[in-house]
Amino acid sequence: MNLILVAVLSLGAIGLISAVVLFVASKKFAVYEDPRIGRVAEVLPQANCGGCGYPGCSGFAEACVKAGSLDGKLCPVGGQAVMTRVAAILGLEAVATEPKVAVVRCNGSCEHRPRMTRYDGVPSCAIAHATYGGETGCTFGCLGCGDCVSACQFGAIRMNPETGLPEVDANACTACGACVKACPRHIIEIRPKGKNERRVYVSCVNKDKGAVTRKACEVGCIGCGKCVKVCPFEAITLTDNLAYIDPAKCKLCRKCEQECPQGAIIAVNFPPRKPKAEVPVEETKMEVESK
């Protein structure tokens, strides 16, 4: 009897003391957090990809709440739908944004770009890039080790074993930008998806002089400037022997694609041209791949 009493009393005392300590601690060390942060975080995809530019989804939620406006804030994974819900929670205006997609700007497949050496190091683009110029004569193009594939959290990039180049699945891509950061050669670019998912871009990042580029790759941009002249909208600029199409100005007329002597400009998701015009090989191929 006595034993039970002692046991109950001592346990009770311990429980009581612990309760007091916990109560005091919870009051003294309480940190106030805006409850809206939690609610915003709940509607985010919780992929923690960092594509928004903040450290994870909770970081993004905090930033949204603190900023008091959604200007320039976009969850690339959730897209417009999620941002509308975030706006509703915060009682703010949702800013309309264009959907975007990752674009691989290198078409130097095994066929177009002959291999000159064999790389025998760790299969990582970052390390291969630091080692040397790459297996081909082009020191700007894709190395083909697949750092972008492993960086993608959404399984949207895969390596095509035939071309040795990565391919983006436009439907799975969330434009989070992880692949852009992973690519040591800055080949991948986040571009607007475009009207009806139609896009025209220069699929090359080679800044060498034309003759050098031509020697290394059949489909490299040689900086001839023909596309710049033919473009009626001044959307194309030429710097360091490399053409670039500004997606904001491009009206998808495809004149440049026809003009390019190297076939370095690629147009995707367009219906086939009328029979009299020659159909570039890349166009049909890319269409099939992106579907």
Binding site: V122, I127, T131
Partner: protein
Amino acid sequence: MKTFRIGGVHPAENKLSAGKAIQTLGLPKQAVFPLSQHIGAPAIAVVKRGDMVKVGTKIAEAGGFVSAPIYSSVSGKVSKIDTVVDASGYRKPAIYIDVEGDEWEDSIDRTTDLVRECSLSPEEIVAKIKEAGVVGMGGACFPTHVKLCPPPGAKAECVIINGVECEPYLTADHRLMLEKTEEILVGVTLLMKAVKVTKAYIGIESNKPDAIKCMTEKAQAYPGIEVVPLKVKYPQGGEKQLIDAVIRRQVPAPPAIPINVGAVVQNVGTAFAVYEAVMKNKPLFERIVTVTGKSLKNPSNFLTRMGTPMSQLIEAAGGMPEDTGKLIGGGPMMGKALVSAEVPICKGSSGVLLMNDKEASRAEVQPCIRCAKCVSACPMGLEPFLLATLSAHREWERVEKEDVMSCIECGSCQFTCPSHRPMLDYIRQGKGTVGGIIRARNAKK
């Protein structure tokens, strides 16, 4: 016998060309001079297309304090200033000169007489070395005059001359020590005078007994110069390892440099270049290059004009064997695999090594069995297996905490790994990334 105290490995020496006297290689048809042949800012071209140059004409000016001018090694006409594929396969700016005849600048003393007396002041010696474009000839290509100007607060106590040549296969320094002994010794006295010290050590590994004997005998006549025989162990030719081996002092972790422990380390090739620059008025435009390899017909040592394509050296040594799988600029432990044989010889090209396909391919990678052989082999007391794993997982903060910046990239870890793990590939990436992080941090401050 002395040696450094931590780690080290014993690669097979394979000094195939050790018995071959230095031969002079013929002139190339066209010489190519990359503007970035040294550590630091690239040189700036001072000639233009169509200019006529002589042997020893300055064609590019130093691009800053840590930089070096470049001199033409041939006479002829500048054909173009364009890009050339360098050792790493990237295109870098370079000056192309079409060779016509062999006409030298008049200021160069072309006799082989030994000149011992030098009345120049230390500052004048350093100025001459700087003007002649002398850089570290061991392979690092660090401009020599920078090393001879200690930063404020540091004081040189001795000069250590690196005659170790611990890289397998290479014999350029070995031959130089045998054939240009006195010139090297005069060069050492000049270096001692330049940094105002009275003591110099020449470290030579004991696998070169003839060079030790020859140097020791001749050094009697030069006060303050002592030849130190060293036990054979790789990487003894590393600056920090050599200082530890010779004067038993360890350079602390970066950013500390050898001068912080009072040592100025120079290669024997550099000492020879200093002699020629100061006493013979001859800028740096030629060097000894070892061409070697097990499948090569005639491994040799050539006195080569810079800008010569490596293919010409290989041709002179018996031609490229059919089964060549790898072409290495430098030795097998630290050399760089080249993308083509047309890469020109630069100031730091100590050798060309050919490997056949079988030697060159890496073996299959197996899991790490944590045998700790890399830890025992590391001459810097690091944990290569850990650095490699952390780098592969991109944990840069921890990589930095584990002292990745101390790594000298000697390759001992990977050489010794029973699982053939490509540790150094990862560690280099970690070192590069952490180096960038540190620079960014310092820039912020």
